[in-house]
């Protein structure tokens, strides 16, 4: 369990980092918090010959309201900073609710938001949150920059995104949620701090006693995070009752197509989808 040999770079500027990625392409990997990459290298499941450590790049560790109605989270903002609700409002609450499920405390101290998205574990909490809120993901390369919606960013294959080898995820823009929006998060894992078997992230817009609209993203049921759109449709315009929630949860369990693994069969995951969607919606509607 020792990594294969590699070259290590610690660039001081974004341009320098992008230059290294451009130079080494597929051979290079970006090192942020190292909470997934380093274990993978120790197992020799990942064997990059070049590591580009972005720990010293300026500006990527900020949470900023760059434009009205949205918040941009820098790539190397730590999990813990988001868990501590530095954003405020329903969006901040959702970050705080979700953040506490990310790994264990020491992992949250080092691991980064951007790193989690770029790593794209199908059961990662932040990926589901980004998917639920249609986050916009900012990518930079030596030749330019682009923004990609979360729906296009995550490929439906585990650990796969649309990032090109020479691209760096620099930040993520998320919409502010209105004050009438309730948020919820439910996750099932075998132990506290483990990757989810199934998780659900919800944001529900209330209109008095009924539901104006809802966002539901699921983790652990496909190659990447997915939206439960039938379940969302089953909520829109309906009264905020237990019956509505049950119908939406049943719709979510119906529309996913999970595969089984050692922690649970496909049927088991469907059962968990129903349970987690119910719990996350209950929380959002509380």
């Amino acid at each position: 369990m020792k990594p294969a040999a590699f070259e290590y770079h610690a660039p001081r500027t974004l341009e320098e980092a992008l230059g290294l990625l451009h130079e080494h392409q597929d051979e290079a990997k970006v090192l942020a918090g190292g909470q997934s990459l380093v274990p993978a290298m120790n197992f020799r499941l990942a064997r990059p010959s070049v590591l580009v450590d972005i720990a010293h790049l300026p500006d990527l560790d900020r949470i900023e309201a760059t434009e009205p109605g949205s918040v941009t989270v820098g790539a190397r903002v730590r999990h813990l900073d988001l868990e501590h609700n530095t954003i405020g409002g329903p969006l901040g609450s959702l970050f705080a609710l979700t953040g506490r499920w990310v790994g264990h405390y020491p992992i949250r101290v080092r691991g980064t938001f951007g790193g989690s998205l770029a790593h794209a574990d199908p059961a990662a909490e932040w990926c589901a949150l980004a998917c639920a809120l249609d986050a916009e993901i900012h990518c930079r390369s030596a030749s330019g920059s682009r923004s990609v919606g979360a729906g296009d960013f995550f490929e439906q294959m585990a650990f796969t995104t649309c990032l090109e080898p020479d691209e760096l995820l620099v930040g993520v823009r998320l919409p502010e949620l209105s004050d009438s929006c309730g948020v919820g998060m439910a996750e099932f894992a075998r132990r506290w701090g483990d990757f989810a078997i199934v998780l659900a992230v919800t944001a529900v817009e209330r209109d008095g006693d009924s539901i104006a609209g809802a966002r539901i993203a699921l983790g652990g049921v496909a190659g990447g995070p997915v939206r439960a759109s039938n379940a969302e449709a089953a909520l829109a315009g309906r009264p905020a009752t237990a019956g509505t929630v049950a119908a939406a949860a049943a719709a979510a369990a119906e529309e996913v197509d999970p595969t089984g693994d050692i922690h649970g069969s496909a049927d088991y995951r469907r059962d968990l989808v129903r349970a987690m969607v119910t719990r996350a919606l209950d929380q959002a509607l509380k």
């Binding site: 075998r190 132990r191 050692i262 922690h263 649970g264 059962d271 129903r274």
Partner: protein, 786 residues
């Protein structure tokens, strides 16, 4: 301290801990790091469970060693002298065949572990993979692949032990039964998972021709004997040292192939070579545990009295045996101890060991007892439900109350507190109050349950017990050498090999009481074959009983010498001399002499010693007892989430009887650790392989020990039944926690889900398994999938 205060029975803080908690403990990897010039080894392992080795190709000139590098080396083979046993030989490195995933095929050496791993990747082992057999039941099919082709298997394909026992009236007991309960118990594969994986450092000294193996190990003397036998050299050429060991639980008891290869390589290369096992290797190919199935039939009267028991036990022992205890320990212990503390006269059992293309099995905390206790305790609860009896009531009707008692297999059970601990557990939980709470919860759609587990733990057994298993290598006794040095301090050299249990502290307490010194004045030397008497090490809940007994006997001899010298010096009778407060005083007077003064005389003025006392103060004693049963009742309260199958442990109560507790805090620590491993067994840890034999739980992301978040407060209450089966009065307590906990947890889950008619007989009871049982039950009752 005041005169007459006893150290025994006090929760003295452990002398071992200050170094450990400050990071000063020296484990084998620390020792390896200290020596400059240490080379590091990595093993090239089989990627497939079964096959013929066609070729092994290494980069030219690379230090790659295979079985051909060690022509004189013997296979490893320990035997049981019984007609129903087939001995399996283990080559140190695979020769022409591989028989389990991760089997060591070659050893490479480099300047660092990382470079050794680089080199290991470049070794190409060409294996003609053959169809493996992974499951014990499948392996006995005559059409199944034969794991050890060419070996005579008269008892059936891959059957390497087929033991039977029966009393005469079993069928009559079943004929007379009002209710016959049949159960199928399945305990999946586990890894003992010590925090420190295995590791060793072999240093060959060309100037003396001696090789020192510093190793994470529980049996240093046995390891030295094994190395000498396998390498065909004299034991004087070897020294085995065990530094701090980071948990063992049985996994560091049996001789690893890797250690033998490492010593052979160090001798061949005249080098110092370390092998520090990583977690992946450890999970894949150290030693596995459990993997038992029991089919159990119990014959009961309407009142819940157990009339007869019929069991068919199958143990998947993997590809090879282990050294020195052999795979026989799994089925034979299960068969001998299954009836447990329940009065039973009619018992029939068949117990088999089956070899497969899985990693070999070695003892793990409790060995067969966590599973046999699960089997008996599930039988009791299932019968109680059928007969509409309370789980406490059915146990009370059957538990042994009069001693001495002999199990139907003839195994003697010394006095214990089986009924008393059960009653105390029911009271601690307020069982009636719990039942009311359970009903209220049920009305809210919540599933609460309680489960009990009563068991005896056979501990501190010496040579006679092991001899009953017909072991060629028969462990059992322990020797303690005791010396008082000229300053009056005491050194105890022991053959036992503690590795975290706090034995040095406990022995110091015991010796302090016998000799009239303070515990701090006693140093316990262990884990070095050059400086300790031959002994069997630390395993099987034996050290406090056996090494403690030997220490007591040695102390009595030393005390007699001290009294003799003091009496001569004070012109009194030895019978009147009391040893206390570092002095020898004439009883009822203030006349005395200090122990340091006596020690000075013994060592430095030996011409003043009365005849026939020899100079120095050095004695030795050996203890070899028949064994003693400690006992306990565990009780768990759980809540099952019907939507996810998750089991939350609300309470865990242990009423434990370990006889005389030399240090109650250490006893509790043993129980806490054991219960945690029992909870792991019940709910979390499972080694899973796919149909091709690939291990799917090859890291701690998928093999899941419970953490502090999952384990509740463990509430321990102490009961002490003193018997004369142990000369100190102490009973062993090292394994009980792990033995009792799984049954308590599975009984509690079954109790919680009893409204759905669910009985949980498979462990670990993972959320997906529990949810599957609930789904099936719900679809039966509602007629559709919920």
């Amino acid at each position: 301290m005041t005169a007459g205060v006893r150290w025994t029975g006090r929760s003295l803080r452990r002398f071992e801990d200050p170094a450990l908690v400050r990071g000063l403990g020296r484990f084998v990897a620390d020792v390896a790091d200290r020596d400059r010039g240490t080379l590091h080894a990595a093993f090239v392992r089989s990627a497939v469970p079964a096959g013929e080795i066609r070729s092994i190709e290494a980069p030219p000139g690379a230090p790659v060693l295979t079985s051909e590098s060690f022509p004189g080396i013997r296979t490893m083979c320990a035997r049981l002298d019984r007609p129903d046993f087939v001995a399996l030989e283990t080559p140190v490195l695979a020769t022409d065949a591989v028989r389990h995933p991760g089997e060591p095929v070659a050893l490479v050496v480099a300047g660092s572990r990382a470079e050794a791993e680089d080199l290991a990747e470049q070794v190409v082992v060409d294996i003609d993979a053959t169809r493996p057999v992974l499951d014990a039941a499948a392996a006995t099919d005559p059409a199944a692949p034969t794991v050890h082709a060419g070996l005579d298997m008269p008892m059936g394909n891959n059957v390497v032990l087929d033991a039977r026992f029966s009393t005469e009236g079993v069928d009559a007991a079943f004929d007379a039964a009002d209710e016959i309960v049949t159960l199928d118990i399945r305990a999946h594969r586990q890894n003992a998972l010590p925090i420190e994986a295995r590791g060793a450092l072999a240093a060959h000294d060309p100037s003396t021709g001696r090789t020192t193996l510093t190793a994470a190990n529980q049996m240093p003397h046995m390891l030295r004997t094994a190395l000498a036998d396998i390498l065909d050299i004299g034991e004087a050429e070897l020294r085995v040292v065990t530094p701090e060991v980071g948990g063992a639980f049985g996994q560091k008891m049996c001789v690893p192939r890797e250690y033998v290869a490492l010593v052979a390589a160090a001798r061949l290369l005249g080098a110092t070579i370390a092998w520090i096992e990583d977690r992946s290797e450890n999970l894949l190919a150290s030693w596995h545990s459990r993997d038992h199935t029991y089919r159990l039939r119990g014959a009961f009267t309407r009142g819940g009295r157990l009339l007869g028991l019929d069991a068919d036990i199958v143990c998947n022992i993997g590809a090879y045996s282990n050294y020195p205890v052999t795979f026989g320990v799994e089925p034979l212990m299960a068969m001998a101890e299954l009836p447990g503390p329940y009065r039973l006269s009619q018992y029939r059992v068949r117990s088999r060991a089956v070899t497969t293309n899985m990693c070999p099995i070695a003892p793990y905390r409790g060995v067969s007892r966590p599973v046999l206790t699960l089997a008996m305790e599930r039988l009791m609860d299932t019968a109680a439900r059928r007969l509409d009896l309370d789980p406490v009531e059915i146990r009370r009707a059957n538990l042994v109350r009069e001693f001495p008692y002999a199990m139907p297999t003839g195994l003697p059970v010394d006095p214990g507190s089986y009924v008393e601990t059960l009653d105390a557990a029911a009271e601690a939980l307020d069982l009636e109050g719990f039942r009311r709470r359970q009903q209220q919860a049920a009305a809210e759609g919540r599933y609460l349950g309680v489960g009990f587990s009563v068991f005896g733990e056979r501990t501190g057994y010496g040579t006679p017990a092991f001899a009953a298993r017909a072991m060629e290598i028969t462990p059992g006794y322990e020797t303690v050498q005791l010396e008082m040095n000229p300053s009056g301090d005491v050194t105890a050299r022991i053959g036992a090999s503690p590795h975290g249990q706090g034995l040095a502290t406990a022995l110091s307490q015991l010796l302090a009481d016998e000799l009239g010194v303070e515990p701090r004045q006693v140093s316990v030397v262990h884990g070095d074959t050059d400086t300790t008497p031959y002994g069997w090490g630390t395993f099987a809940s034996r050290s406090m009983v056996i090494a403690g007994g030997a220490a007591k006997l040695a102390a009595e001899r030393l005390a007699a010498q001290l009294r003799e010298i003091a009496a001569h010096h004070l012109e009194a009778s030895p019978a009147d001399i009391r040893l206390e407060d570092n002095s020898a005083v004439v009883a009822g007077t203030s006349v005395g002499v200090t122990l340091p003064e006596i020690a000075r005389i013994a060592h430095h003025s030996s011409h003043l010693l009365p005849a026939p006392i020899e100079p120095g103060l050095s004695v030795s004693a050996t203890y070899d007892p028949g064994g003693t049963f400690s006992n306990a009742c565990h009780a768990a309260v759980v809540e099952v989430d019907p939507d996810t199958g998750h089991v939350r442990l609300e309470r865990f109560v242990v009423i434990a009887d370990a006889g005389l507790e030399v240090n109650p805090m250490i006893v509790e620590g043993q129980i806490h650790g054991g219960v945690t491993q029992g909870i792991a067994n019940a709910l979390y840890e499972e080694l899973v392989t796919d149909d091709d034999g690939n291990l799917l739980t090859a890291s701690l992301m998928d093999f899941l020990p419970p953490t502090a978040c999952e384990v509740p407060l463990i509430e321990v209450t102490h009961v002490q039944t003193i018997t004369d089966a142990s000369i100190t009065g102490a009973k062993g307590v090292g394994e009980g926690g792990a033995i009792g906990a799984p049954a308590a947890v599975l009984n509690a889950i079954s109790d919680a889900l009893s409204p759905l008619g669910i009985e949980v007989d498979e462990m670990p009871a993972t959320p997906s398994r529990v949810r599957e049982l609930i789904r099936r039950a719900q679809s039966t009752t509602t007629g559709d999938r919920t």
